[in-house]
């Protein structure tokens, strides 16, 4: 286990507010092998971005974090300021949602790229400039000179996100933290940027923690996906496992609420009720309030994440529901013909 790039062990986070502490993470545990891509999927407020921020230690000021965040076996939560800065400069990198907000609007692109190498890592300015130009060429920017001299407002969102990706690759870090890197881009550039990101990541052999609300996108680029609900992981599995045989009702409903490409439906199925925040959970399964398969015992106590052959599920009824959750959509009883027994597990 110590060979993992990243290990989160029962990470909890609470933000102080006027009404007492608000819990945002209720014990997140996960691990990432070298070069592996793990998707963190969930609705807004499920804690996926906050999980990522505990790794980089950029959580909101005043937040109380417990648990361990091990990067190559070293707990980043315990690092001093100087050591933390070195870890951020050399072993971690982050790509955020909106590249336009990520770059200082009054400085040239070259300054942004060079500063990450030169000021953060202590490389010489000439060497950093040479590397920066090289990196831009590798993320598919045709006119490197123009790009280096441009200010952020002169480039498109897609171009800017390429610049950010180039900067992220600069230090060949062990772990890439991507927080919805394509959400702010328009659809046509999304796939382009995602392809570049994936290619660069594989080339540099980086592990990636990929936060998104888009289950499809996560399935396309990740080796494993962790589904978050109300500040805790409810299911972890490979994209194939989750798609063909979800074991947690929430995963199943998430899959059902995607629009289908082939069949036109009058109304998209939605998950009943509203997503609850982590601090609203009152004992028992957090999803019990919205779960169509809820049983009386679901609200009786904390439900543990049960690991089983590389997957993990946090549901008391996971075993009894296996067939039902893998079956046809529950919200469309008279829709498509029933395809029973679609439970094969793809390795």
């Amino acid at each position: 286990m110590s060979a993992n790039v990243l290990e989160l062990d029962d990470v909890r986070l609470a933000l102080p507010s006027r009404h007492g502490d608000r819990t945002l993470l209720r014990g997140v545990s996960l691990s990432l092998a070298p070069g592996e891509a793990l998707g963190l999927v969930g609705e807004s407020g499920s804690g996926k971005s906050m999980t990522l921020r505990t790794v980089l230690r950029t959580e909101p000021p005043g937040a109380r974090v417990t648990g361990r965040v091990l990067l190559d076996g070293e707990d980043v939560r315990l690092l001093g300021a100087a050591a933390l800065r070195r870890v951020r400069a050399e072993r971690l990198t982050m790509i955020s949602q909106n590249p336009r907000a990520a770059l200082n609007p009054v400085l040239r692109i070259s300054r942004y790229l060079v500063e990450g190498l030169c000021d953060a890592r202590g490389e010489s300015r000439d060497e950093a400039t040479r590397r920066a130009r090289d990196l831009l060429a590798r993320v598919g920017i045709a006119d490197v000179d123009r790009c280096m001299d441009a200010y952020p407002h002169q480039l498109s969102g897609g171009m800017l996100q390429r610049v950010v990706i180039a900067a992220a690759m600069a230090s060949s870090p062990r772990l890439l933290l991507a927080d919805e890197p394509t959400t702010a881009l328009d659809v046509t550039t999304q796939s382009e940027v995602m392809a570049i990101l994936d290619e660069q990541r594989r080339e540099h052999g980086m592990a990636m923690l990929f936060v998104t609300h888009d289950l499809e996108l996560a399935s396309a680029v990740c080796d494993r996906i962790a589904v978050l609900y109300a500040g805790e992981i409810v299911e972890i599995g490979t994209p194939a496992q989750l798609h063909s045989a979800p074991r947690h009702p929430y995963t199943r409903l998430l899959l059902d609420s995607r629009p289908s490409l082939t069949a036109k439906t009058a109304a998209l199925p939605v998950i009943p009720g509203r997503p609850i925040a982590a601090y609203e959970v009152e004992g028992g399964c957090a999803f019990s309030g919205r779960c169509p398969w809820v049983a009386p015992r679901c609200s009786e106590g904390e439900v543990a994440l049960v690991h089983d052959a590389g997957r993990a599920t946090r549901c008391l009824r996971a075993d009894e529901l296996t067939a039902e959750l893998a079956g046809p959509a529950v919200s469309e009883p008279a829709g498509e013909p029933v395809q029973a027994g679609e439970t094969e597990e793809t390795a």
Binding site: T58, A101, N104, V106, R121, H153
Partner: protein, 315 residues
């Protein structure tokens, strides 16, 4: 850039023309007449009065008088002082250096203390920040004339560090003479600028690109300078500019209080004596200073923020 400056100078000329008319009209409409000041309450025969009015052209129609005056101004002839019979242009020329030194000194104080103190307060927070917030409230609340009297009584009369009046000659002597007046003049502006700078810095600290620069491992020192303070300078430049432009007008009070021979004190005297030509000339100088300072600020803006395009709409 050059085209922008030329266009702005043209606009400044138009502004000066319009304000010259307003200034002239305002003096014309003001109660009291210059000849009554010239005769100083003595009873004079109507003939004498008529000759005085003829000499100064006071009987001509308004527009004729304005045109006459404007023609003179354009050729560098600002007219003749009613009280001293001296050429207004040379009077101004002898008075301007003092005001220039005073306002330049105050401007340096504003930039150094206002911006630096505000930036440190914003970056460090804590007790220093609280002290700056309190101090700026006090500084802003103290009227300039009161500050002048207070400074004189403490530093000149009690401690004897600085001279009480006069503007001195030579650099060191000037500095020593102008220190207290410059402090009194700069005080409210320093307070405002410090506060605006602090707020801008605090706001900029929260910016996403600042957080990301830190998360990339860029040292705090560099982030503070390159990303926080530099970006915070955008709003600060505007405030500093407006306050420096206003110094020339504010100089009147301070020059009067410290009996300095600048154009501010000259303006007060000229208004009291209804010395048309002098008041008009000084008012024009004030408008010109505002215009030039604003032009400099706009150019600075473009230097600081590449998104501002001179001569066009901002991107």
């Amino acid at each position: 850039m050059l085209r922008f400056i030329i266009r702005r100078l043209g606009a400044l000329a138009a502004t000066l023309l319009i304000s010259s008319f307003l200034i002239f009209a305002a003096m014309y409409a003001a109660p009291g007449s210059p000849e009554s000041f010239l005769v100083q309450g003595r009873t004079v025969s109507p003939e004498v009065l008529a000759s005085i009015r003829a000499q100064y052209g006071l009987d001509d129609p308004f527009l004729v008088r304005y045109g006459h005056w404007l023609g003179g101004v354009l050729t560098g002839d600002l007219g003749e002082s009613l009280t001293t019979r001296q050429d207004v242009a040379s009077l101004l020329a002898s008075r301007i250096p003092t005001t220039l030194w005073l306002t330049a000194y105050a401007a340096v104080l504003i930039v150094v203390f206002g911006v630096v103190v505000g930036a440190i307060a914003g970056l460090r927070g804590g007790a220093f920040d609280t002290a700056v917030l309190l101090g700026s409230s006090v500084g802003f609340a103290i009227p300039t004339f009161f500050a002048a009297v207070l400074l004189m009584s403490v530093f000149s009369v009690t401690l004897g560090w600085f001279p009480v009046f006069g503007s001195g000659s030579g650099l060191a002597d000037r500095m020593s003479h102008l220190t207290l007046p410059a402090v009194a003049l700069a005080l409210p502006a320093v307070a405002v600028v410090a506060r605006i700078t602090r707020t801008a810095v605090v706001e900029e600290r929260e910016a996403e690109h600042v957080q990301i620069a830190l998360a990339r491992g860029v040292p705090w020192r560099i982030v503070a300078r390159r990303h926080i303070v530099r970006n915070a300078m955008l709003p600060v430049t505007t405030i500093v500019g407006v306050n420096i432009a206003a110094l020339v007008a504010g100089a009147a009070v301070v020059e009067h209080a410290f009996t300095l021979d600048g154009i501010g004190a000259m303006l007060i005297n000229a208004v009291q004596q209804k010395d048309f030509a002098v008041v008009q000339a000084i008012a024009l100088v004030l408008v010109a200073v505002f215009g030039v300072v604003n032009l400099v600020i706009d150019i600075l803006y473009a230097v600081i923020d590449p998104r501002v395009q001179l001569g066009g709409e901002s991107a």
